[in-house]
């Protein structure tokens, strides 16, 4: 039954296919800018390897980061806000579904659609045009991406929960979270480039499970048994944030039912 939600979500998105195409173009432009930047950085450095990255490894890092980004940033916190503002939430609550689970499956439709329209094209174009490298351990990479996806999901969900308490919009909070995440997760620059004190702090936070861990596995920076240690980190954060999300949701749900939204 929840799979119907996903299927329906995909159908809805077909209507916005031009927006997705535009987003793909935007992502490619972004990538192009960064390509030039890092080429300039390596040229300025004169070294073949900076902080353990060769230029091509860096480019690969950028591309894969650009692939993970759209996958996890589907903007569903705004959908939650929309549900709350328009009262659609109340309609959903009258049905025998769990709202958080409903949201997860709706999120899948976003993810699948983005995967096909944005991620795969970016990846394929990059392989053909700029010769990025393939993952060292594809299975481990895939697992870490999925785990990271859910960790990020709960963080976004919590951001969306703000809609139940704020009179304004979720936008500011969401953007702030994205910015902090971009820095702390290694999406902006690999954590390996940061001074050690910063990287150490970042490694204690959940953000790094979304980018840093999968990207490290992809580039083979972590291999063998150490990968499991990373999975454990991801799972721990997943469980913590999952419980937190559920807990906050329960409070929000009660607020809606008691106060009528």
């Amino acid at each position: 039954m929840y799979l119907d939600v996903t299927a329906l979500g995909i159908k809805e998105m077909l209507a916005y296919r031009t927006e997705f195409f535009a987003r793909l173009v935007g992502a490619l432009i972004n990538l192009a800018v960064l390509w030039f930047v890092w080429n300039a950085v390596f040229a300025a450095s004169g070294l073949a390897v900076i902080s353990g990255f060769s230029l091509s490894a860096m480019i690969t890092y950028l591309v894969v980061s650009s692939c993970i980004g759209p996958l996890i940033n589907s903007g569903f916190e705004y959908e939650i806000e929309w549900d709350v503002r328009t009262g659609r939430l109340s309609t959903i609550l009258t049905k025998p579904v769990s709202y958080p689970i409903f949201r997860i499956f709706k999120g899948f439709s976003n993810t699948i659609f983005t995967l096909i329209t944005n991620v795969l094209p970016i990846f394929l174009i990059s392989i053909l045009l700029i010769n990025i490298s393939l993952p060292v351990n594809f299975l481990a990479f895939l697992i870490s991406v999925v785990l990271g996806y859910f960790v990020n999901y709960f963080m976004v969900f919590l951001t969306g929960m703000w809609a139940f308490w704020s009179t304004g919009s979720v936008w500011g909070l969401s953007l702030s979270r994205r910015m902090i995440s971009d820095v702390m997760s290694g999406a902006l620059i690999p954590l390996y480039f940061f001074p050690t004190w910063f990287a150490d702090i970042a490694r204690l936070l959940p953000f790094q499970t979304v980018f840093h861990i999968p990207l490290s596995i992809y580039l083979g920076k972590i291999v063998g048994i150490d990968i499991f240690y990373l999975f454990v980190q991801q799972v721990i954060w997943l469980v913590i944030l999952g419980f937190l999300s559920y807990f906050v949701w329960k409070i929000a749900e009660r607020k809606v039912i008691v106060h009528g939204g």
Binding site: T18, E19, F21, A22, R23, V25, G26, A27, I29, N30, V33, F36, V37, N39, A40, V41, A43, A44, S45, I50, S51, S166, T167, G168, S169, W171, G172, L173, L175, S176, M179, I180, D182, V183, L188, I189, F193, F194, P195
Partner: protein
């Protein structure tokens, strides 16, 4: 007309105070996006002394200049944007604007003052201030006048490009997707133009004159390079860009009134 503007400003301030949390969070979020940029550069410069001939403080000056101009545009001129125009056309508000004895473009601009832009403005002033101090730039009267003209020209350029994209709404209607391409394109101004290949430099100088927003003016104030006198062209380029865009806008309205909605 000035009374109208004063009135609208009062209305907007009222609105901000009503959603006070949003007011501050929004400014903070945008400020954060600029901080992230600075962090990016800071980390890079831990590994290289100079980027394509630009020192860290010089880069700061470059981006500070762009934050300032974008900040002014963001605060006062984002009433005109592809996605706003699309919304007004679709819900009938644009027709209502045409029924008032007033220039619809001015109506659009004055109707929406975006407090988030203050985040860019504050960032711009701080960064520019720090950079010019670190570089010991002397603010002679001549320099101040040129800076003012540069900023005005830069704001005109940004506004004109966005206006052009917004005008496309009259033909495409679903123009919101153009924003997805437009904002990544603006990203090119975050870095010095000389890191890009000649073709892109050409595009950013003669087609989408983003180069005149901060790159060429920065060259002048920093006393760098052969192109520094191009800085004088910024206000002129701004004017030309505006004339072109405004003509397209007028033509767009004509087309709109003949095809209906």
């Amino acid at each position: 007309m000035f009374k109208l503007w004063k009135q609208l400003v009062k209305m907007n301030i009222k609105r901000w105070m009503e959603y006070r949390a949003d007011f501050f969070i929004g400014i903070f979020a945008i400020f954060l996006t600029n901080v992230i940029s600075i962090v990016f550069f800071w980390v890079i410069f831990q590994h290289i002394p100079v980027l394509n001939g630009w020192r860290f403080e010089q880069i700061l000056f470059l981006v500070g200049l762009s934050y300032l101009s974008f900040g002014i545009w963001h605060t006062f001129l984002t009433g005109v944007s592809p996605h706003r125009l699309e919304r007004y056309i679709v819900n009938g508000d644009f027709d209502r604007m045409l029924l008032v004895p007033f220039n619809p473009l001015l109506l659009l601009i004055m109707g929406d003052i975006d407090d988030d832009g203050f985040g860019d403005l504050i960032a711009g002033i701080l960064v520019l201030g720090y950079a010019s101090n670190a570089l010991s730039i002397v603010w002679t009267l001549q320099n101040i006048i040129l800076l003012t003209l540069t900023v005005i020209g830069a704001v005109l350029i940004i506004f004109s490009v966005v206006l052009l994209f917004a005008t496309a709404t009259f033909w495409i209607i679903r123009s919101a997707m153009l924003s997805e391409i437009l904002y990544p394109l603006m990203r090119f101004t975050e870095f010095p133009l000389d890191i890009y290949n000649p073709f892109i430099i050409f595009l950013l100088t003669f087609v989408l004159p983003f180069g005149f927003i901060n790159y060429y003016p920065a060259q002048f104030f920093l006393g760098k390079g052969l192109w520094m006198y191009a800085a004088y062209l910024t206000p002129i380029v701004g004017l030309i860009a505006f004339v072109i865009s405004y003509s397209a806008w007028k033509y767009g309205i004509k087309n709109y009134t003949s095809t209906g909605s």
